[in-house]
Amino acid sequence: MDRTILRRMAAFLCLAALLAANGFACFAGDSFDLDRDNLPYTGDWDAYTYDEEYYGQLRGQGASINFYNWGEYISDGSDDLIDVISEFEDLTDIKVYYTNFATNEELYAKLKSGAASYDVIIPSDYMIARMIKEDMLLPLDYDNIPNAKYMNEGFMDPNYDPGSVYSLPYAWNTVAIIYNTSMVEEEPDSWGILWDETYAGQILMFNNSRDAFGVALKYLGYSLNTEDPDQLREAAELLKEQKPLVQAYVMDQMFDKMENNEAAIATYYAGDALLIDNDDIDIVIPKEGTNKFVDAICIPASAKNKLGAEMFINFLNEPVVNAQNIEYIGYGTANLAAYCLLDEELRDDPVLYPSQEILDNSEMFVNLSDEANLLLDQLWTEVKASNKNVMIWGILPCATIAAIVIGKTWYRRRTAKRHRYMMED
């Protein structure tokens, strides 16, 4: 009898130590570790109800919040999933004004202009760091966000927001290689395939500087966040070398090209790649490691309804809501209770929730210094402008000006001639 108790205590201690180690790992870096065999949350979620008292706080006051989010980035009631915004409006009587942006920089510019005020925004990791640095965010009041307890500890206290003071993760994902098995014989496991001349003209590359350089830097074995000019130049050289092999620099056009077998290999966000409608498509996260990114919910400093915003953040983390929302988005969730609610197929997807080994290799973007950002932009312009583009940009304006000058002289001469005839007549 005693022995069993002892054994139980020992097991408990082990577990506690493990948890502590886990927690410690998060402080050290960003561990997204998941123990898939021992899911912490089980239970009857069908009987789950919302806390009416908590959500009723602003009822009947005509309250509203302004929510600024990426496009197509919240479940809107299609595919029999929850319509998050209208469900929240019904529950709380808070009107949600919903608008969309397409890039972090756009969000930043709108906030900086000061002429638009939002209550809830969802920037990505590096942009959050920048916004914190520039005092653009309000600290979250966790007393108003009880559902933060469901968060995977590995996502709390990230290096873009130490102590999770300003942000709560919304969704996370990685950058992966996407390839068509009918066109690529081998099974790629390295970024190197993007430089393989066998696939010249069949490679699609990111059309934004940070992601493209991220791929090159990871292939070279450097950090994604390097500010060393030599390493950045080396990556730029590598990208220039790759350019003749690249069919196109694309973002979401990738979907169509990969679906129609127009390209063999592409890079994109793994969760989005899973939605490609083509049975021959395979997705792999390269051994050199990759970029993992987190989009997190924040409240900007100009928010007018902070309590409403926090209620919305809390609602987004209701396990039932979060699980359906993440299924719609197609990325990974940091909400452990919601994770437990997902279908096993989704939970065990090696692309959505990669092994710890891969994640340990991966890095998140941090906000680069202004000088590094400037250099990156310059180098990216160099990459994009190399080869024939120089010719086109050199010749086109010259040709236009020449055409105008010649046309005008000709016209003038013609009118002058006609004038002379008329005089003679």
Binding site: N66, E72, D252, F255, E259, D277
Partner: protein, 269 residues
């Protein structure tokens, strides 16, 4: 080349031009019935995107905003632009040339320049972005187009008509509404339609000045590019195309009918 061959080549030419213009729209309409989200692979017929569209509040409210902005801004721009054109026509040559250069400037400069400068202007005067700022911005870039389409009509008009109306006892206002306005009406309508269409599909300027509560359809569609543009947009575009087509056909039929009546009436007279 014989005449027959000639008409064959010209028919072929017209066919190619039409194909260039309408094939993309037809493909888009076809894919609005595609079962998967793909814009490339066909995987069966469905009308689910149309059903989803009717329930998608964010797309519908963006559409409504776009229509509100287009109607209000093009009506106001037409009023302002017509008045401006009448004024410009009455000016002396030098000041007219000066004003016309200022009118051409926004038309010639890239839209993004307009967008950024309007944004800075609103920020400077501490006007918060909203549907109001979008409407003001759209009026601003629409006025020159109205002026440019009304002015030629004014130039064509016999300038003594107005004076004759005054001589015959019209007040200046009556002379304007009864004589001048009917003369320049085609120009005003063209200007209004141009302003309306430009406002409908403007992205650059709306992108910079839209606020936290309302966005227009082009801004919404652009924001979808990180994930994927939803096929509901195909469905919406298909509906818009069919509606515009129907309106055009109806007006054309109406014109033909009226012309026939006029001809008959003319013969009788």
């Amino acid at each position: 080349m014989t005449k027959k061959q000639n008409s064959l080549t010209s028919n072929l030419y017209i066919f190619i031009v039409m194909a260039f213009m309408y094939l993309p729209i037809l493909v888009m309409i076809a894919y609005s019935f595609n079962n998967s989200k793909s814009r490339g692979a066909w995987s069966g017929f469905t009308t689910k995107w149309y059903a989803d569209l009717i329930q998608n509040e964010s797309i519908l409210s963006a559409l409504l905003n776009t229509l509100i902005v287009a109607v209000i801004s093009s009506v106001i721009a037409t009023l302002l632009g017509t008045a401006a054109a009448v004024g410009i026509q009455a000016m002396k040559k030098r000041s007219r040339d000066l004003i016309m250069n200022f009118t051409y400037l926004p038309v010639m400069s890239p839209e993004i320049v307009m967008g950024v400068s309007l944004m800075l202007l609103f920020v400077m005067f501490k006007v918060d972005f909203s549907l109001f700022t979008v409407i003001v911005a759209h009026i601003t870039f629409n006025v020159p187009y109205v002026i440019l389409s009304v002015l030629p009509k004014l130039r064509q008009m016999d300038k003594y008509l107005f004076e004759a109306a005054l001589d015959l006892g019209c007040t200046p206002l009556q002379a304007f509404t009864k004589v001048m306005l009917p003369e320049i009406m085609p120009g005003i309508i063209t200007g209004f339609l141009i302003a309306f269409t430009f406002s409908l599909d403007d992205f650059n300027i709306s992108y910079f000045v839209s606020g936290e509560r309302a966005q227009t359809l082009p801004v919404l569609i652009y924001s979808m590019t990180r994930k994927r543009v939803s096929p509901e947009i195909n469905a919406l575009s298909a509906i818009i195309f069919v509606v515009v087509l129907a309106v055009l056909i109806l007006t054309n039929l109406n014109d033909i009918r009226r012309e026939n009546q006029l001809q008959k009436g003319g013969r009788r007279g």
